[in-house]
Amino acid sequence: METNNTSSGTKQYIVVKLGGEQFGIDINYIDNIVRMQRITRVPKAQEYFKGVINLRGEVLPVMSLRVKFGLDDDEITNLTRIIIIKLEPQAAVGILVDMVKEVITISDDEIEPVAQNSTDEKAMYLSGIGKYGNELISLLNIAGVVIDKDMDR
């Protein structure tokens, strides 16, 4: 895989686990990965927002991918991490994941597109499926996950 550079190149992803599934997050969007910490609940926020945390003096919202993807609610363990995503300056957001596995490099031709007309709601949060060895990794469309269409209502 490392030798493959026929097309537009490769991207690095951080592989996280959520339930039984593995997800890849483009490393370019990741600002930081922090351990689980106390989350302050925010009343009347979207259901998948767990609340806000204090990251070095800044207040950041934290969302649960499990709730957003319709899985069981998070079970906080020693391995639970908050991945800090920065899509634009001054607007970071945390994402709760069960565990962070590794950093991988996937070339663009190892990525299969997802069927966009799929009825599965999760499909719109994915940018593709990456093949890494024998494993399949769902690559997250981070902007789609973080920016909620419903929010502007």
Partner: protein
């Protein structure tokens, strides 16, 4: 040499003078023979002209000059103030303002000559006094030329001594068809910024060619180390007259002498063409025999940076800040020394002492810094009287704006943003609120409409009210419109209170102009006003009595960043309630809760106060054990009150307000978050949204 260092001062002062002009001309309109006002206007116009001239803004200077002529005739009693005159003067001021904003953005005044206004001014001057006044007068005044003193050698360039490389350069230039002129320029002795002036002269000369030498050298000129004259040598292809003319056009230049450079015999009798343009006795002949090298003034970067925004700070406030910072250092040193010496027991005591000391310093420091950021609201509202006057003319209605509390101070960021919403409300009041004179008379109101702009401090808030005695808001019409637009259902319409209906005006769906003129003519962009004010952390409320007028009340937080708050516990969660909105804290017995319209209320010293169960509103998991009585925090917003039921009081604390971050839905009830001493995040309740 560079005038840009004076630009900021120039802009600040010009703004002040323009404001003074605006205000006083408004007074003049009403009291045509108020001598003090006329003098004040004259003074402001005169300073404006001088400053504009010094900075080299010729168009601005020309316009002010002509305005000043008019003022001077008024002052001398040769002219009467007419409506037309005032209109033209205001036009002139508007033009000056647009010059100023050009200058602010690009450091240049732009190219608009505003000849029309100048024409009108001269027209007025002619018809008002029978005298002709035009730009010739300007020229004369600026450069009062008549020779009266011919003693001494004025053509100082003849005394220039050339170094060999300069001679070389001149010869080379001549061979390539250029001419070398030696020029001596005299500047008005009273000129304030000689170096700035000299810079403009250099610039004018450089438009024609290259300056290879100056005496005194450019460094000295920049430091204003010269008398009223200096000489330069210019290599150019332009004609001598052209060069002379363009230098002569720089204001406050009294004399320009120009001649060909004579290298071999500098004092030969080859006739130069001295351009004796003006006079002003030359005092002494400064020594001119400094040997110098080829010197060229530094080129200025073409695009000057836009002037920074600035706040004028009272020096006293800065002194206080300085003092506090030194105290802070002392407190820090105190802590350091406690760490180093002393037994455990004593350590603890003095440690606590120092912490308290530190606390009082940081509080004071915060206050002082906030004060530095505070600007009187005056700087925003003082342009409104003029606006209302113009609107009154345009709409052909009689109205007057009365303002009070202009000295109320607000944070700079708020001040910058509040202008537009206020203008919007005032426009609405003038346009739609105040009726035409006839209608008013018919209704038995005074023909002249009144608009009130009132600002005052109320706890931790600043309140700005925009009131008018016009037609008011027709609630029925608003309701019908809302029904027809589908904003509310008929059932809702039945039960809605009057003020709830008025609040509909702030809905975005009411914002298009046609809708508005259909209903009561109210609500142009009120949703924009509201969102702007909410972005500043404030809120707006409308009250109206049909036929008697309406009142828009804006409430803004005094400070944006740091506030005093009461920390409370609701369930197991901690929340902060801004202290500014808290009135009292009461212990209420369960039996004292009454029901009005099936809502919980308490009767507190005669006033009925609705209760807000925060744990329900905020979906907090309730505690299993309940207290024997309710702890109720009474908060107020204007004259409305509400009791917030909390489980526990933690105490008062100074908190830093942080935004919740993007993407998360921010309920109106949450005003932000703050980070507590232990790193935990607590949310700040915006009780204004709950009252």
């Amino acid at each position: 040499m560079d005038v840009s260092q004076y630009l900021e001062i120039f802009i600040e002062e010009t703004k002040e003078h323009l404001q003074a002009l605006n205000e006083h001309i408004l007074i003049l309109e009403k009291e045509a023979d108020n001598i003090d006002t006329i003098n004040e206007i004259f003074r402001a116009a005169h300073s404006l002209k001088g400053m504009a001239g010094t900075m080299g803004f010729m168009r601005m200077q020309r316009l002010t000059h002509d305005m000043e002529n008019v003022f001077s005739e008024i002052r001398n009693g040769n002219m009467i103030v007419t409506d037309n005159l005032i209109d033209v003067l205001f036009k002139g001021i508007d033009a000056l303002e647009s010059y100023l904003s050009n200058i602010q953005e690009t450091a240049s005044e732009g190219t608009e000559d505003n000849d029309e206004i100048i024409e009108e001014l001269n027209e007025i001057l002619k018809s008002g006094t029978g005298k002709d006044s035009d730009d010739k007068k300007l020229m004369q005044e600026e450069e009062p030329h008549k020779e009266k003193d011919e003693s001494g050698i004025k053509e100082k360039y003849k005394e220039l001594v050339y170094a060999s490389h300069e001679i070389h350069a001149i010869e080379a230039a001549r061979q390539s068809g250029m001419s070398a002129y030696a020029i001596t320029v005299y500047i008005n002795e009273k000129c304030m910024l000689k170096s700035a002036r000299a810079f403009l002269i250099f610039k004018a000369a450089e438009e024609h060619g290259e300056i290879i030498k100056s005496n005194p050298d450019s460094q000295d000129i920049e430091n204003e180390e010269f008398d009223d004259n200096f000489s330069i040598v210019l290599l150019t292809k332009s004609k001598m007259e052209d060069v002379k003319k363009s230098i002569g056009n720089v204001s406050e230049v009294t004399e320009v002498y120009i001649g060909d450079v004579e290298i071999d015999e500098q004092h030969s009798d080859k006739k130069p063409e001295p351009a004796k343009e003006a006079v002003e006795a030359v005092s002494d002949l400064s020594t001119k025999n400094k040997q110098e090298e080829k010197n060229q003034p530094k080129k200025q970067a073409a695009a000057k940076p836009v002037v920074n925004r600035s706040v004028r700070v009272d020096i006293e406030k800065l002194d206080i800040l300085m003092n506090l910072v030194s105290e802070l250092i002392i407190a820090k040193n105190g802590l350091v020394s406690i760490g180093a010496h002393g037994s455990e027991g004593r350590k603890n005591d003095s440690f606590n002492e120092q912490i308290e000391y530190l606390e009082s310093i940081t509080t004071n420091l915060h206050e002082s810094v906030m004060k530095v950021r505070m600007v009187p609201i005056e700087s925003v509202v003082n342009r409104f009287p003029r606006m209302i006057r113009d609107l009154a003319k345009k709409l052909n209605k009689k109205m007057e704006l009365y303002m009070s509390g202009e000295d109320t101070e607000l944070d700079r960021t708020v001040i910058d943003e509040i202008g537009d919403p206020l203008m919007h409300l005032l426009r609405n009041a003038a346009d739609h609120g105040i009726e035409s004179g006839e209608v008013r008379v018919k209704k038995g109101k005074p023909e002249q409409g009144t608009i009130l702009l009132d600002a005052y401090q109320d706890g931790n808030n600043v309140v700005i009210e925009v009131k008018d005695d016009g037609a008011g808001i027709d609630v029925e019409k608003v309701k019908n419109k809302a029904l027809s637009k589908g904003v509310i259902t008929p059932e809702q319409a039945e039960t809605m209170a009057e003020n709830e209906i008025v609040d509909l005006l702030f809905r975005p769906s009411f914002s298009t102009a046609e809708v508005v003129s259909d209903i009561s003519g109210r609500g142009v962009g009120l949703d924009v006003v509201k969102s702007k004010i909410e972005a500043l952390g404030g809120d707006i409320e409308a009250r109206s009595v049909l036929g008697e007028g309406s009142n828009f009340i804006i409430r803004l937080p005094l400070t944006l960043a740091i506030i005093q708050a009461l920390m409370v516990e609701i369930g197991k969660e901690k929340y902060a309630i801004p202290l500014g909105s808290i009135q009292t804290i009461e212990d209420v017995d369960y039996n004292d809760i009454k029901y009005v319209q099936s809502k919980e209320v308490i009767n507190l010293r005669g006033s009925v106060i609705p209760l807000v169960r925060l744990e329900e509103v905020l979906d907090v998991e309730p505690l299993e054990e309940k207290n024997d009585s309710l702890t109720v925090v009474i908060v107020s917003k204007g004259d409305k009150q509400a009791g917030m039921v909390v489980d526990n009081l933690i105490g008062q604390q100074e908190i830093v307000i942080k935004p919740l971050g993007k993407y998360i839905n921010n309920s109106k009830m949450i005003g932000g978050a703050t980070i507590l001493g232990d790193g935990e995040v607590a949310l700040i309740l915006d009780v204004n949204a709950m009252v």
